[in-house]
């Protein structure tokens, strides 16, 4: 009971924080496949927002529209006050330096070593830092943050799934983003490794005070990390609330997510 009280007040505090990400009435279809049919979302500063949905429900499509990797059919997407559909390439690139994106399958460049993977985002996004940044120091620091300092000269093919995810996380963190988007951070990992990744995500959140949007269909992950949740069902934001609120719901469509 006390715990619930705490969450509710925490949630109320969040609402007073500025909005960093907003999606209004997002539509996206592929031919006759209507994936998103008016999806809405708001992410506040410092918040951990979890979006849950069945696989194939359009979670990845939504997050890709958010960073301009896919063009939405209709809808307004605002990232830190910028409408991303109206930005030119250069301003979009500058904005993207403040957004970290952890891809579903890690998406490490498999022709490059771990070091080169981490250096890659620094090639272009150097404007964010001083002219003469110490690349090596940044790489070592980022790898240290995820506990993989030894892996610096390995190739991605030599890493386990969990290590790959950590390196991908380090690559996302190296630009010190203000917002991090996680696309199924625990998918394809065993429960123990998944838990380690979740703990790492929480650490990062407290250390850098980032705002996070976490896409998942892992209920445990959602319970541990979420301040607030959105259920993506039938292409819309079907239900919004805290984990406690949603898991207590009587709606069968919502219940389906929480029963084990």
């Amino acid at each position: 009971m006390k715990d619930e009280q705490h969450i509710v007040t925490h949630f109320k505090n969040m609402k007073q924080q500025p909005v960093v990400l907003q999606i209004k009435d997002l539509y996206k279809s592929f031919g006759n496949n209507h994936v998103l049919n008016g999806f809405n979302m708001i992410l506040h500063k410092g918040e951990n927002l979890v979006i849950m949905g069945k696989s194939g429900s359009g979670k990845s499509v939504m997050i890709k529209c958010l960073v301009g990797l896919m063009e939405a059919d209709k809808g307004i997407i605002t990232v830190m006050g910028n409408d991303i559909t109206t930005l030119n390439q250069e301003s979009l690139d500058i904005l993207r330096a403040d957004i970290g994106f952890l891809f579903q399958g890690s998406a490490l460049y498999d022709s490059m070593t771990v070091r080169e993977n981490l250096e890659f985002p620094l090639r272009r996004h150097t404007k964010k830092f001083d002219k003469d940044i110490d690349t090596e120091k940044l790489v070592v620091e980022a790898l240290g943050n995820v506990g993989l300092a030894d892996a610096i000269d390995l190739m991605p093919s030599e890493l386990s799934g969990g290590m790959k995810r950590r390196v991908a996380l380090a690559r996302t963190l190296i630009l010190k983003p203000k917002i991090i988007l996680y696309d199924e951070p625990t998918s394809g990992l065993d429960p123990i490794t998944a838990k380690e990744i979740i703990i790492l995500m929480k650490d990062i959140q407290t250390k850098y005070n980032t705002s996070s949007l976490i896409i998942t269909h892992d209920v445990d992950c959602a319970r541990v990390i979420s301040d607030r949740m959105i259920l993506l069902i039938d292409g819309i934001d079907y239900a919004v609330g805290t984990y406690k609120e949603l898991s207590a719901s009587d709606d069968p469509k919502i219940k389906a997510f929480f029963k084990h």
């Binding site: 890709k64 960073v67 990797l69 690139d93 993207r96 330096a97 957004i99 994106f101 891809f103 579903q104 399958g105 998406a107 490490l108 460049y109 498999d110 022709s111 890659f120 985002p121 090639r123 272009r124 996004h125 690559r171 630009l175």
Partner: protein, 266 residues
């Protein structure tokens, strides 16, 4: 019965032709994008050089072996006929012209389509499927410039080089046969080869090779860049890259010969 069979074949051809033309359209759009992006800063020089090195390195042995065998076989097969006509002394000229003008470029290009073209298709395809291309884009690097422009430029620059090497090795193979069977000396053989070759043979062949290289790069990249999801998509990208390139190579060859012929008549 047989008429319905013919109808079936005709409709099949029609759909295939339609998808082929559609593909040509999309490829043209992709090519125009290449020319738009290729001249814009920043130039990925380091990656271009790396690609040139990798492509040359990976296909050199294959090009060498095929060239050598073609040279041997061509000479062995034509020898009896030339002897019959008492024209075996023309062998170096004949082999020289046919290899430099036609066989060298097309065989090297076909070998490279199989080796380099399918490699590019599979590599970019798997990068697309595993979201590496998306990851590049969000980290501020234009993936079209970094992956496509560098690879297409690399094949365009490297193919003529590989053709020259392939030609040289094929001629050497031909010389070995002549030397063993007809006791022709190295100097005599190559003197005759170079005497019979004119700029009119070498220049069109070299220009043609640039186009071959461009076709290999652009089709491989096109197929990989727009690869469909799933591992089946990657295999298909690699496979169709080779098939489509080979077809395109013959079309380019035909056009090249046609144009060269017009210039000869002038």
């Amino acid at each position: 019965m047989s008429s319905s069979c013919i109808m079936l074949v005709l409709t099949n051809i029609k759909t295939q032709l339609k998808s082929f033309l559609l593909e040509i359209g999309e490829l043209s759009y992709f090519t125009s994008r290449f020319f738009k992006e290729a001249f814009k800063r920043p130039f990925e020089i380091k990656e271009l050089l790396r690609q040139c090195y990798l492509m040359g390195n990976r296909s050199l042995l294959l090009v060498g072996v095929t060239g050598f065998i073609i040279g041997l076989v061509l000479t062995l097969q034509t020898r009896p006929t030339l002897i019959e006509f008492g024209a075996v002394s023309w062998m170096p000229s004949m082999v020289g012209i046919s290899i430099v003008r036609e066989i060298g470029p097309i065989i090297t290009a076909l070998v490279c389509a199989g080796k380099i073209g399918s490699g590019i298709g599979a590599e970019l395809g798997s990068m697309r499927v595993t979201e590496q291309i998306d990851a590049m884009e969000v980290s501020g690097t234009n993936p079209f410039k970094y992956l496509v422009v560098t690879r297409v430029l690399a094949t365009t620059l490297m193919l003529p080089l590989l053709v020259i090497i392939g030609d040289a090795i094929a001629l050497y193979g031909s010389f070995l046969v002549e030397n063993l069977k007809g006791n022709v000396s190295f100097t005599l053989f190559f003197n005759q080869v170079f005497n019979s070759l004119e700029f009119g043979d070498i220049i069109p062949a070299t220009i043609k090779s640039f186009f071959f290289g461009f076709a290999i790069g652009i089709v491989g990249c096109f197929k990989g860049y727009y690869c469909k999801k799933g591992t089946a998509g990657v295999g298909k990208a690699a496979n169709t890259a080779v098939v489509f390139t080979s077809l395109l190579l013959f079309i380019i060859d035909f056009i090249a010969v046609f144009v060269t012929d017009i210039f000869y008549d002038l």
